[in-house]
Each structure stands twice: as C-alpha cells, then as structure tokens.
Symmetry: C2
C-alpha cells in the first residue's frame, strides 16, 4: 500500500495537464515535493505533527489521492482549480512556476478541506 | 512542446491506476522507457526508422498521449486494456512486472492502431 506514490503519479498528471492547457502546448512535469509541502503550510489543512518537508509532501500526495479515489473531487475539477491559480504566472520561468505550483495546490487543498 | 513528457506523466498515471486496481491496494510506478520500447517492438505499430530504445520509448509516450488528447481512446479504456493484460502476472515480482508492463502497453498500442 503506497497511497502517496499513487498520489505522486496523479499529481504529476493533473499538474501536467493543467499546465499544458494554460500554455496551449503539451508538457510533462514532476511536481517537486517541496512545493507540495509549502502549499500545505499555506493552506487551511492542518499539517501532521512534527512533520518535515518530505513528510508534508507525502501527506499532500495522500490526501489529494484519497479525495479523488473517494470521488469527493473529479480529475477535471482538480485540473480547473490548478489552472485558475497558475494562469496568472509565467510558467516558462522556473521561480514563477514554483510559486504557481504552490498556489495551485494550496487552492486544491482548501477545496478538498471544504468538501470534507 | 513536449508531447512525450506529457505522455510520460499520462502513462505513469494510467499504469499506476491499473496496477492499483489489480492488486487492490494503491501504488505509484514510473514505467521504464525500456518496457515501452519493447512493447512497441512486439506490437503491430511500426517503429520509427533507425530508432534506439530511448527514441522508441518517447514514440510510445507520444502516440498514447496523442490518442487520448484526440479522444480516440479514454483514460478508462486505457486502464481496462492494461488491467486485462497485467492481471495474469505476479506484479509483486520485478521481472514478472516488467513482462506485464510490456504486454499491457503492447495491447494498448494495438488497440490504438486499430482505431486509427
């Protein structure tokens, strides 16, 4: 059982799809764990106790995956939430893209929290 | 434009989902490029001329992605085709899983070819 590994593949796919739709050209991205950790810190979702960056990233992978598996959120909804956040950034510039990813997943986490 | 990178994230996701459903527990997998190359060789899809393993793997990533983007095949259909192939193998054993991946993507490529 490795829900966070599954979540990793789900997150890379939905972010790659969101970015591709925003740019109008296809691209594939490995979302950095550090961005997911930062998104969690900035979100309204409570972090696990005494968790470092790595554990926080895994935690995000798990809750995003679980929410999709439990049909609380669809793949299309995830992509739309991320797109709304990242479209304000220059995704061709590395630091801007980091900020875009952080905001996108912060918004996704907040929506997941809202849906319980 | 990097359709093969997008295809990489799509392929990792659909294979991870297929494997998770077969095993009844979630897991995330990075599908090796060498397995995709081997699947192409065994399939009815013609390989690009003078292509090595790396180029063949990229080619598979591109045509699977393109087929899904163009709505010739759905994500669910991809997962079902892969599941039908890999369920015959012991996915907990590394060499068996390689053979499972090769057969799964060979079948997917043949279905994509059939649909034109």
């Amino acid at each position: 059982m490795s829900l966070e590994k599954f979540g990793d593949s789900f997150i890379n796919f939905i972010y790659s799809l969101a970015k591709s739709q925003v740019l109008g050209e296809y691209d594939g991205i490995k979302v950095p764990n550090s961005c997911l950790a930062e998104a969690l810190t900035l979100s309204e979702v409570e972090s696990p106790r005494r968790s470092d960056k790595h554990k926080k990233g895994d935690f995000v992978e798990k809750i995003v995956a679980k929410s999709w598996i439990d049909r609380k959120i669809t793949e299309e909804e995830c992509v739309e939430i991320i797109k709304s956040a990242i479209m304000k950034y220059d995704l061709k510039e590395r630091n801007e893209e980091r900020r875009a990813i952080i905001e996108g997943f912060k918004d996704l986490l907040n929506e997941i929290k809202k849906r319980g």
